[in-house]
């Protein structure tokens, strides 16, 4: 493996710091009402978030300093640990159930979300598999099939919780990595077609699914039921207009928009800072995606390159899906917006990912930079 010689990617780091600051600001503004009502303290969530941000920065620093060669070696053990955690979470008494989904393992005052661990573990193992035998991926049997089998098992385990959002993100990330690794385009097209055929089949078998899947296209058909969150989200974005209602001026946070400080934080940004604020956030995520993929291209190592693709995809896909849900172009899936949504462990794991990405950015490049 090659040696480190450069500074970390400053643009990437800057974008992340900017998002973290916006996140702190919004976690206060959006959660003040809930904090006041449920904990008698409008700063309740902000105080917690500040702690998590520092924990996240610490985790990022650790990840930044890790020896990535060791990580290559530990890929398998880490995957096994992640899988065990996924199984543990389903053992009664150990897993914590919130809103009908068992996603947490309590460890004293801390709690861990195995799905966050598996995201990183999966990216790591895929990068290792694909980098070890680069030419295998051209073959369906030797290259693609084992990867898909592993993805299938992991997705199945996550769907046991159930957690559709994470499943989607992991599946999409894996696909991006397969494409980057050089999987034949017709293989991927065929897979995509097969997937589409399955979806069509499922819809034909039970038309109610179609209504559920496409409910997001017309939330007003069921304004108090399935369409409720989508409508409340639009009722936050719309009044925001170009410049927004101003910091702290959100109306929808007064218990109209559920999950406003987590899954729908982007709607809060759109309401308080308008089109300009929302677009700024989209641009920051664009920066992350751009720098992430740039790091992947510029590192002259297959493992590190694919690892960088996976880490960038994890953050990018999750952000795109979340913002797609909030603006009503994707159905409600229930995933958070990286850096901005309130939520402790998920922020820490995102920051670990970011730390690893920044770590990769310090490695030497042999060719000139492309993007």
């Amino acid at each position: 493996m090659i040696k480190k010689y450069r500074q970390v990617d400053g643009v990437l780091l800057g974008a992340i710091i900017a998002l973290l600051l916006i996140g702190l600001l919004m976690s206060y503004s959006s959660s003040a009402v809930k904090g006041y009502l449920y904990f008698d303290d409008p700063y309740h969530y902000l105080k917690m978030e500040v702690v998590w941000v520092f924990l996240g920065l610490a985790a990022m620093t650790v990840a930044l300093l890790l020896d990535l060669r060791k990580l290559y070696k530990w890929a398998k053990p880490i995957l096994y640990v992640a899988i065990i955690l996924l199984i543990i979470v389903k053992i009664p008494g150990l897993g914590r159930t919130v809103n009908g989904a068992t996603r947490w393992i309590g460890l004293g005052p801390l709690s861990i979300q195995p799905s966050e661990v598996i995201k990183l573990a999966m990216v790591l193992i895929m990068a290792r598999i694909l980098a070890t035998n680069p030419r295998n991926i051209q073959s369906f049997h030797k290259g693609l099939l084992p990867c898909l089998a592993l993805l299938g098992i992991i997705c199945m385990l996550i769907m046991l919780q159930p957690d559709l959002g994470t499943t989607l993100v992991i599946a999409a990330t894996t696909f991006f990595m397969l494409i980057a690794a050089g999987a034949k385009i017709w293989h991927m097209t065929a897979l995509g077609t097969a997937g589409l055929a399955m979806v069509v089949g499922a819809i034909v078998a039970a038309p109610y699914r179609m209504r559920r899947i496409f409910a997001f296209l017309d939330p007003w058909a069921d304004p108090s039921g399935k369409g409720y969150q989508s409508i409340q989200s639009l009722l936050a974005l719309g009044p925001g207009g170009l410049f927004g209602l101003g910091f702290g001026q959100s109306r929808q946070k007064f218990l109209y928009l559920p999950e406003n400080h987590t899954d729908f934080i982007f709607a809060m940004i759109g309401e308080e800072f308008g089109f300009i604020g929302a677009t700024l956030v989209v641009m920051l995520f664009f920066l992350i995606i751009w720098r992430g993929f740039r790091i992947a291209i510029n590192v002259s190592d297959n493992f590190l390159g694919l690892f960088a693709v996976g880490l960038t995809s994890l953050i990018g896909i999750q952000a795109m899906v979340n913002m797609g849900v909030v603006t009503g172009v994707l159905p409600v899936t229930g995933i958070t917006l990286p850096f901005l949504s309130y939520g402790g462990t998920s922020l820490v794991f995102t920051m670990i990912g970011v730390g690893l990405l920044l770590n990769i950015s310090r490695y030497r490049s042999k060719t000139e930079e492309v993007i």
Partner: protein, 685 residues
Amino acid sequence: MVQYLKMRKRIVLIFVLCSIFLVILIIRLGFVQLRDGPFLKNLADEEHYRGVPVAAKRGNIVDCNGNILAMSVSVDTVYAIPAEVRKSGKEDEIATLLAETLEMDKQAVKDRITKRTSLEYVKKKIPTETASIIKSMNLPGIGIVEDSTRFYPNDTMAAHILGFTGIDSQGLEGIEYSRDKELTGIPGSILTEYGANGIKIPGGDHEFIQPIQGNTVQLTIDKNIQSFAERELGKIMSGQGMNMEGRIPKNASILVMEPSTGRMLAIATAPTFNPNNYQAFDQSARRNIAIQNGYEPGSTFKIITLAAALEEKVVKTDEVFVDKGYINILGRNIHCWKDGGHGRQTMIEAVENSCNPVFIEMGQRLGMDRFYKYLTGFGFGKKTGIEMAGEAKGILANKKKATALDLATMSIGQTNNVTPIQLLTAVSAVANGGTLLEPQIVQEITSPSGEVIVPFKKEVVQRVISESTAKLTREILESVVTNGTGRRTFLPGYRVAGKTGTAQKVGQGGYIQGDYVASFIGFAPADNPRLVVFVVMDGVPFYGGVVAAPVVQAVMLDSLKYLGVKPDPNAPLAPGKPLYGVEFPAVRKEAIVPSVLGYPRAEGEGILKKEGFKVMVEGTGTTIIDQIPYGDAKVEAGSTVQLYLGAEVGQQTLAPWKEVLDPDIEAIEQFGPRLPISMNQNLLE
């Protein structure tokens, strides 16, 4: 490094895909926030804002000269926002305080202020002083909103026409009911932003949407003429009716119409009620018998028979009839009201005498078809269309089954059931030259800024008789007053025309003796009638010519003078035939009424009495707040001045409406908008 170069291209591909998605996202944001923004903001506002309705001030009802008959007075309404009351945790304390101040039951208050609604009224229409006490308590979740209540400054005056309103200021009867839409206005609202949990958003926006005051309804009713009519009714109902020997009829009505336009100048009915305090009166007092009750009119109806006979030229004015006291129809004798009959008489004399056999003869000459043609032509058997709820149609004998005997009795005003307003409208057609009009009660509708929204419109139903027939009929009717049964209506210096009526009432097995509906219908001046005055008294043992005619005379004289109708120099100063026991008032000198507005009662009365006026007083209080006729009016010396008492000039006394307040709001709300219409008992079926 084949693998490596391929990977770079693939990553660029993924990066481009992601970028496209982000561009789509920004475009979508633009659509949602910029294009649909205003629309979505409206939706969001609808969700966030909750309004406390602010009642619009109900429009006034005024008479044809703009005198206020019904007005709105500011009061307050106490409301609660139960979510805030519950949040404060002081439900009990608040309920106790409110119950004490509002004199309500504590549990009832508590139930109301903790109800699971977004807004609940605690008590409506409380005096502003009480409201300010509550305001100063600063109770969480309790608010005060301006409201208005109805006040009728003249109390009982024109009560049946005006009607009244309920607790939500909704019109329940009369013009208040029929013109509710125009009077109501558009309620405003105090809008405040609320969270989804029903708690006010701190620092949220407030918006006050100004209510729009209702329109003013101007009636054709003239307060002065209405008060002349009510003054006479007052005399009758207090046992002071002329020739009544102290008797009081069951009920009575006086109607005054302007025949040329169909405008009703007065509709007075007794018994009556005070719309400020309508719950205190029996429902029967709220019945407008002049519109809602039918009766057998008797001889006043002979005007119709006469007009029809003249129009069809079946009689001539100089034709001579011999009345032997009865006429035999289908083997039955119908008697003239005068024992032994009137003997030889011309047709005009027969009308002067109200001779039954002659009118029956007229009916026979007309025949069934032509008689019915005029019956329906003059508007009997169907509603006149006057704007009063519950108007009766009256009942006509079935033409297919009617016998010659029916025709005979119909000719003299029996058998058929008609309403006073029908008869008045029909006689007005004779007075105005032969055109049946729809009686009008609303002059015009004006906006609060005084702009006329709905102007007056005369509604012609149809022409019934020719101008010449109408003129001839008027002249004959004038002769009835000058020479005949109507002499007690005679006014020296004015040409008055009219006809008496004494209807027998139907009881068990026939007509009841000694219990009549006495009536008189008259108009003046006979050559160009300005007024048609109709008086009906139900339940008297006297003839219409004796008890009803003097009432018409009084109302007519005051009204003609009030309207400035000059005495006709060609009019006779005494009736053609003296009437035993009746003295006609000499034409008295004119006198100018002094204004006593604002005077204490005793002083004002003193001034008027010194000037030779009689005084009638209405209302409670120490100060004279209104008078009719007004100061400087020229009236006949020695006439009556009506005084209205109150607390202060220019500010109507609030005492009556305070008494109206009923602690049990629900009980008031249960009143329906209309009363059931039961037919009068004197129907002939």
